[in-house]
Each structure stands twice: as C-alpha cells, then as structure tokens.
C-alpha cells in the first residue's frame, strides 16, 4: 500500500497549478512536434531540454514527458490524413488509417487511434505502478540473442501477410535491408555501400524513405487519378467520437493483446516500432475480419496504436530503473535526468520518491489531458481534408521537404526524398508491397547488429539462439508466426478429417 500512498502524493505534486500548466504546454507542443514531419519526439524533447534547465526536476520531467505523449498522439494524425508517418511506430497506423480517411472516415480513424493510444498508455502506466521492480529485472535478461529473437518475431509475424506476389514481397523487403545497411557498419566500424560518397555516410534514414514512398508517392497517385484528395466528405463534428466509442469495445481482445505486446516490447527494450508491426500482424491473422485489413478496418488502427503507445510508455520504466532508454526519446529524457542532477538507476525509486511518483502521476494525468485535447480537435483535423488539393498538396510537399531536410540538415536528403517518391509511385503501380520495405529499413540494421553481437558472444555458434528458455521461446513463437497459415491449414484439414 505504500505505493498507493506514494502515488497519491505524486498526484498532489502533479496537480500543482504550475505543473498542470506545464503539462498542457507540453501536450500542445508535443502534438505540434508530432504533426510536423522531421520534428519527431526525440528531436522535440532534445530541442526543448535546455528550456527546462531552470525548472525543478519534477516540473521539467512532467513537461518533457508530456511532449513525448503529445508527439505520440500527434504522430497518428499525419499517418491517417496524408499517409505520412512522422515516427517509425506510426507506419503501421497508415495501413488501415489512411484507407479509412479516403473513405470519408477520417474522424473515426482519428478517434480510434487516439483512444487506443490512451488505453495502451494507461495499461502500461498501471503496470509500472504495480509491478515496476519485478519488471525491471525481466529487462536485464535481454542480451543480444534475445533482442535478435524479438526482431525475428516482429519480422515473422509481419511477412506472409501481403497479397502481393511472394517474390515481389521478397524483393521489396530486401531493398529495405540493403538501404538499411548503407553507411557505417556498427560491428566492424567500417563504411560499406557508400562508394566514397560523403552524403551516404548517414545511410538512409527511415523518415526520408517513408516521407517519399508513402507521402510523395501518394500525392503522385492522386495526381494521376485527378486532382482530389478523397475523404473530403469526412464528418466534422464531435458526434463521431461518441459513435466510434460505441464500436470500440468490440475490439477488446485486440486491445488487450496489443497492450501486452506493447508493454513487453517497451520493457525489453526493443521499442515501439516492432511492437506496432507485431501487433498489427497478429491482429490481422487472428481477427475475424482479418482479410479486410489494409482496406480501412478500424481494428487495424486499434492494434498498432495501442501497442505503440503501450510500448512508448513502458519504455520509460527501464530508463528510470536501469538507465537504459527503450526508445530514442527516452534516451534524450535520460540525458535530461543527468543534467538535472538525477541518476537513473536502481536507487532512483528509493532516493527520489517525489520525482518518480510525480512522473508516474503525470503519466496518468498527461495522457488524460492529451486525450481530451486531441479528441476535441478531431473535427479540425478531419476538416483539413476539405482543403482543396491544389492548396494542400504544395503545402504537404514543402512540409515533407522540411521534414526530410531536418533529419540530418542535408539537402541531399531532400533529393533522396523525391527519388523515393517516384520509386514509391512506380513500385505501388507495379504491385510491390511497400510495408515490408519500410519494416526492413526500420529494423534491418538493428536486427543485423543484434545477430552479429550474439555470434561474437557465442564465438560463432548459432546455438546461442536456442541457448536458454527465454530466447528459445521467442524464436519458436517467431517460427510459429512465420508458418501460421500452413499450420492453420493443417489444423483445418485435421478437423475435416476427424469430422
């Protein structure tokens, strides 16, 4: 019960007028950061970090973590409206969110996304409140082999999903892997695939590829079909929120599963991106209307958003208790803790009770405030689709250019963005799936790194991936996911034979 008392004390701290003001400011800034491509959560928090220097650590972390929640909420907006995910974990949201918007259901999609985010975050916070110490020790079991197993599982639960010809899927995914490999090889410290071109030192950032492939590619497809963004008939009043809420409880199973996946991925810390892909992939397999995924199914928005937000929130736990960031944004927050003179780690929960519980209380409140803020804005966001195409298109193109530029402050990246745009148009027309390509760019180098770290540790033996119960379980889960359709078919045949 001591935890509960601490939590109430935390609420008292977070509910001080100054802290509430800071919270609101953080949420609004966060949503803006999430909406503008190129200013992701990590960048946004880093940029605003020095501003917090003169606040008390508790107010400072409340502001920065609220920016983080705001950015998580905001990332869904551009994914749904324009097919432009601002963060890697919003990619899976585009798969069903954007088709929904095109069908005039932008309001529903946004409501579902925001609400799911809130549910995911709430679940993760409750978990942090109740089982923090237990969970922290679980994270310690994750070495390179376990991490690779998690990435493996993410890939397996996602491939084999697309309806496109299998070899086109393979080609698309391999292009993604190849692009992810460009730049510095982190294991040998050697440059590869750069061909002496300085601009290629950075490799290909996911954001540039995604802005091009998804965002610009979509604008080109729209041009081909005539000058109109579909979805202009979206309902723009708040009733849509209530209507969507009535529908959402039907998907409680998907929500719960996504919450669990998200918490697990956030703690391990593999992060929100594999969580969102994995959750989407599994939902597609087990949902009743799974075959409709990709055509604008509300469940296809619920699954990735819940998981991403749960992971994003859970990622703060290993940061606080171990000092390992579970996401890039958490890494920046970690730097912040050190700047304010706090040392994240096992002692933080003991020595800085006010800070820790103030932060946890602000997770509850910040997410609630965030949900209210973004939900009231749903009609405004949906109304953006009514702006005529010939005004909104150049503005999107300019914003995309800014986004691509600000990743590495390089105009070369802006050129690459356009190249990716044309590529996205051609690939989509030729029936190549883009999702595996993006998944490979996002996770490819991490998976390779974990794989090679494991092999270094095991001195070259592949047995390391089945060396203990934890890693074997995850690998087997991955294999099951990979051969799921075959297993399902076999199962139904057995039943048919039995009957």
């Amino acid at each position: 019960m001591e935890e509960l008392a601490n939590l109430f004390h935390g609420f008292a701290v977070a509910l001080q007028p100054f802290n509430i003001m800071v919270m609101l400011l953080g949420i609004v800034l966060g949503v803006i950061i999430g909406v503008l491509p190129g200013l992701g959560g990590a960048n946004g928090v880093a940029i605003l970090l020095p501003l917090t220097f003169s606040m008390s650590p508790t107010s400072a972390i409340i502001m920065l973590s609220c920016i983080y929640w705001g950015a998580l909420f905001g990332g869904a907006i551009t994914s749904i409206l324009f097919n432009i995910p601002g963060e890697p974990w919003s990619v899976a949201t585009t798969f069903d969110g954007y088709p929904m918007a095109q069908q005039g259901k932008a309001g529903e999609a946004l409501t579902a996304a925001f609400t799911s985010s809130f549910v995911g975050a709430l679940f993760a916070v409750v978990m942090i409140t109740l089982v923090a110490p237990l969970v922290a020790s679980f994270a310690l079991q994750f070495g390179p082999a376990e991490k690779f197993a998690v990435y493996f599982l993410a890939f397996c639960s996602f491939v084999g999903l697309s309806k496109e010809p299998p070899f086109k899927t393979v080609a698309a995914m391999m292009i993604g892997f190849a692009l992810a490999a460009v730049g510095l090889d982190s294991i040998t410290g050697q440059l590869r695939l750069t061909f002496g071109i300085t601009e290629l030192l950075n490799g290909f950032d996911f954001l540039i590829a995604v802005i091009g492939l998804f965002g610009i590619g979509e604008i080109l497809l729209t041009m081909e079909e005539g000058l109109a963004f579909r979805g202009g008939n979206a309902k723009i009043n708040l009733r849509v929120v209530i209507q969507t809420w009535k529908e959402l409880p039907t998907y409680w199973m998907t929500s719960l599963r996504s919450c669990l996946i998200g918490c697990w991925m956030g703690i391990t810390p593999a992060g929100a991106t594999p969580a969102s892909f994995m959750s989407y992939g599994i939902a597609k397999r087990v949902a009743k209307r799974g075959n409709n995924f990709g055509k604008g199914e509300i469940e296809g928005v619920v699954a990735p958003e819940t998981a991403a937000h749960a992971a994003g929130t859970a990622a703060l736990l290993p940061m606080l208790s171990l000092g390992v960031p579970g996401s890039p944004t958490a890494a920046v927050l970690l730097g912040g803790l050190l700047i304010w003179g706090l040392q994240p780690g096992p002692m933080l929960f003991v020595e800085q009770k006010e800070f820790v519980w103030g932060l946890i209380a602000s997770m509850y409140l910040g997410n609630l405030v965030g949900l209210i803020v973004v939900l009231t804005c749903v009609p405004v966001f949906a109304a953006i689709l009514r702006v005529p195409f010939s005004i909104i298109a150049p503005l999107i193109l300019v914003l995309c250019a800014i986004g691509a530029y600000s990743v590495h402050s390089s105009t070369f990246d802006v050129v690459m963005m356009l190249v990716f745009g044309v590529l996205g148009y051609l690939l989509k027309k030729c029936n190549y799936p883009l999702a595996p390509l993006v998944l490979a760019i996002v996770l490819g180098d991490k998976a390779e790194e974990a794989f090679r770290q494991s092999l270094l540790g095991s001195q070259g033996s592949l047995g390391v991936f089945f060396s203990n119960a934890l890693v074997s379980t995850i690998m087997v889960l991955g294999l099951i996911a990979l051969f799921w359709s075959a297993i399902q078919e076999g199962y139904s045949r057995l039943r048919a034979a039995a009957a």
Partner: protein, 164 residues
C-alpha cells in the same frame, strides 16, 4: 479531371519490366559494394559485407523471377494514359526543380515560388489567395522552426541580405 478519351499510354508490362530491371541493377550495385567491404567470415564473425552480399543476391534472384513472371503474364492493360502521366509529371518536374534550387536559393524563397506556381497553374486561384498562402506558409514555417524550435533550415542570399 481524368481524361475520358480511351487514350494511349505505355504498356503495364513494359513499365513493370523496366522497374524490375532497375531493381536488379540496384541489387548488382549492392553486391559490388559488399564485395568491396569484404564478404567472408572474419575473425570477428561475419564481415561488413557479408549480409549485404546475400541481400544483393536475393534482390537479383527475386527480380529475375519477377521479370519472368511479369513477361509470361497475359496482361494487355495500360500502365497509365499519357494524359495521366502528364499530370504526374506536372508535379514531379516542378518538385524536382524546387528541390534542385533549394541549396542555392534557400528553402523559403523556393517554397514561395513553388506554392504560388502550384496554386496558380493547377488550382487557378486568384493572385490574392495565391500570395496569401505562398507568403504566409514560409513565414509561419520560419517562426515555428527557426524561432520557436531553433531548427535551422537552408537559407540563401535573400535571407543573408535580410540578416536572418
């Protein structure tokens, strides 16, 4: 705005073959790069080019299969009509120019001209609306990015002259 005339255009088959061959070429480039980085199994486990090499191989092989499948397929449909492609190019070409001049003129000036062009030529708005949006957007961008979030964006001689 789709042109209703059953117009001519490039065959889907031809374009797809072109794309597939381009992908295969990309695969070859990846293989060449990997060989440079070293593709064997060194003292520290796989060398830098080990994985990219097989990825490149996979790209080439799957492209070969895709090419074969694509050519075998009985598909007489058009990729797109010339009119449609003209529409697409009417965005691609100005955007390419926009992106190309950005390092020299800076982002703001280029964006103004680009937005104005797009709205005037494709949207046929009156000059007042065009001016409002094309000047308003870069100004807001400047305030948000450079003033508020302190993210520097590319600038050219005009900004230098204005002392921004």
């Amino acid at each position: 705005m789709t042109t209703n005339s059953p117009g001519a255009g490039p065959m889907h088959k031809t374009v797809e073959a072109g794309v597939t061959i381009a992908i295969a070429l990309f695969g070859v480039i990846v293989i060449i790069g990997s060989v440079k980085a070293g593709i064997n199994w060194g003292a520290e486990g796989p060398r830098a080019g080990f994985f990219p090499f097989y990825i490149g191989m996979a790209i080439v092989v799957s492209s070969a299969i895709n090419l074969w499948n694509g050519l075998r397929e009985d598909n007489d449909s058009l990729f797109a009509e010339w009119g449609q492609l003209r529409q697409v190019l009417s965005v691609v070409v100005p955007t390419a120019i926009y992106v190309g001049v950005m390092p020299f003129t800076g982002l703001y000036l280029a964006s103004m001209v680009f937005i104005a062009w797009f709205m005037r030529w494709l949207g046929k708005y009156n000059w007042l609306t065009v001016a409002a949006v094309s000047i308003g957007m870069p100004v807001i961008t400047y305030l948000i990015f450079e003033r508020w979030f302190l993210v520097p964006l590319p600038k050219g001689p005009v900004e230098e002259w204005l002392g921004l």
